[in-house]
Structures are given as C-alpha cells and as structure tokens.
Amino acid sequence: MTKGPSKTASALKRQWPLALLLVLLFTALAWAYLAPGPAAVGLAAQVDASLTASGVSSRVTAVLLNFRAYDTLLECFVIFLGVMVVWSLRPTTVTAPRQPQAGAILSSLERLLVPLMVLVAGYLLWAGSNQAGGAFQAGAILGGAGVLLLLDSSPLLARLPKGGLVWGICLGPFYFLVVAVAAMLRGRHFLEYRAPEATLAIVTLEATAAFSIGLCLATLFAGRQPQGKSRGENSAHSPAWEEDS
C-alpha cells in the first residue's frame, strides 16, 4: 500500500503541508489497523444463539429490526428529518423547477420499469426475512421508481394529494413508535417482541418503513415541498429576509 500516500502527495502539490499531514494520518491509521491490540470475536455467536427468538431467519434483519431496532427507529427519523430540513429551506429564488424533457423513450421505459420496480421492491421485502434484502433495499427501489416518475413529470405524483404525501412520509416512523409503545402497554420493554408474534411485527414494520423510505427518497430528489397553488405566493416574497431579524 505504498501507492496511497504518494498519490495523495502528488496531487496536492500546491498544498503540501496538508498533503504531508494526510500522509501522516494514513500511516497512523494503517499502523493502528495492523498493530497488535485487543482483538475481539464479535457478536456473531450471540446473534446466532438468539436468532430463533427474534422471529426472522436472516441475521442482518434480526439485528436491524429486533436486537438493535432502536437504531433503526432513530434512523427512520433521520430520513424523515432530511425531508423536514429540505422542505424548511425557503425557496429564495424564482428560477429553477427542473424542466424535464420527457422523451418517448423515457415514457415507455417508465411504463415498463415502474411496475417492475414495485414488484422487485415487494419481493425484496418478502425475501428480507430469510435472505438478502429487506426494508432499506426495497425502500430504495421504491424511491428509484419515484425518481423515474418525477423525471417524466408524470401526472401521477402531481395528482397525489399533498396531505397524503405528508402522511405517507410520517407513516414509517409513526408505526415504529406505535409498535414500540404497544409493547410497553403489554407490560414489556420498549420495542420488545419475540417469536412467534415477532415475525408479524417485523414484516409490518419493514413494509411501512420501506414505503416511507421510498417516499422520502423520492421527495428528497424532488428537492422542495410540492406547493400547488401557494407556490407563486411564496416566491413572490423571496426577499423577505431583508426586513426581519
């Protein structure tokens, strides 16, 4: 691996102090990686031991949606938060809704691809409980389908009521919270579910999460809040920041 540092150095000719620093950093990192230290066995054995109680047979899914479901709960909120922040950025400009050139190829491609992508997403979701696949992959594929629809400025998304979009985005995190608190109401811990009923909980969680993640990703791609009629009104006010604190 002598190649790395020298590359870093060669390309940053004008900033050699920075390059030197980074070469040093890489050396330190590599040294720390290769040097002897405490080496642990990891949690593979423990995951296997508890796999039957988790309700799914895929180990990664078990970790994501049962053992460490709290991380996934927060993660659903991270992507929801992304949409929230992007929407809260005020449209300060009058330019730039993209002008998509919907060609005939794209249209026919879309007619073919979008249903196929929805099918694939469904399959991934179903497969996730025992092999490769799961909510995030399915959500990503759904998001991809949404992006295709947006590229074509398909009337489908425009016709979607705005309230519906907001509810759809909130559905995943909201259902996660409901499942978590419902477990507490039954005298268990937050987010506690065990086989056999865990399977149902995990499958529904994955489905709602995939749906919301897909919607969020497509919304992030769209870049701004769909505003319908109120948009003209908002952009007319663009220099408002000049007057207030």
């Binding site: 590359k7 390309a11 799961g134 991809g144 990703l217 992030l220 791609f221 870049g223």
Partner: protein
C-alpha cells in the same frame, strides 16, 4: 480465502476512481465517476460476502445519491446559465439607456 489479483485490482480501481472524482475538472464527470465508484464499492462488498449491503449500496449509496447529485448539479449550472442570460439582458438595457 486468499488474496487474488481481482481483489487487488478492485482496490486499486476504487482508489483511482476516488482520486478522479476529487480532481477531475468537470463536476458532471466527477459525479458520473462517483456513481461508478459506488457500483464498484458494491461489487467489493459482494466479494466480502455482504450481498445485502451490496444491494443497498448499489441502490441507495450509488444510485439515489448519484441522482441527487445530478439534480443538484443541474440546478446549480442551470442557474449559471440563467445568470448569464440575465447579465446579457442587463447589458442590453444599459446600452439602450
């Protein structure tokens, strides 16, 4: 598992692509290179026996992130074009005045 030429090639290509992303003059080219970087990253994860992750990386890390970058790029450069047009209009206006 032992190291084979494939692994080494893959790693070198990854590093080279990352480098090109950072130094290519054209931002559009950088984004396209980044997308291919993501795809190769997914390939290396398949090699490391993590097909779930490879799928997620190909779909989200490379595909959707790439789409996000392309649309942002379009917005920025589109504006630049708009600006140029605006400048020209202004110039014309000034001349007339």
């Amino acid at each position: 598992m032992v190291v084979n030429a494939f692994d080494i090639c893959l790693c070198l290509t990854l590093a080279w692509l990352a480098w090109q992303v950072l130094r290519s003059h054209d931002l559009f080219k950088a984004v396209v290179l980044f997308i291919s970087f993501g795809m190769l990253m997914a390939l290396s994860w398949v090699r490391l026996q993590a097909p779930d992750l490879a799928l997620a990386e190909a779909a989200i890390g490379s595909g959707l992130t790439g789409a996000l970058f392309l649309s942002a790029l379009q917005r920025v450069t589109g504006n630049k074009r708009g600006e140029r047009r605006l400048d020209r209009n202004e110039e014309r206006h000034d001349k007339r005045a």
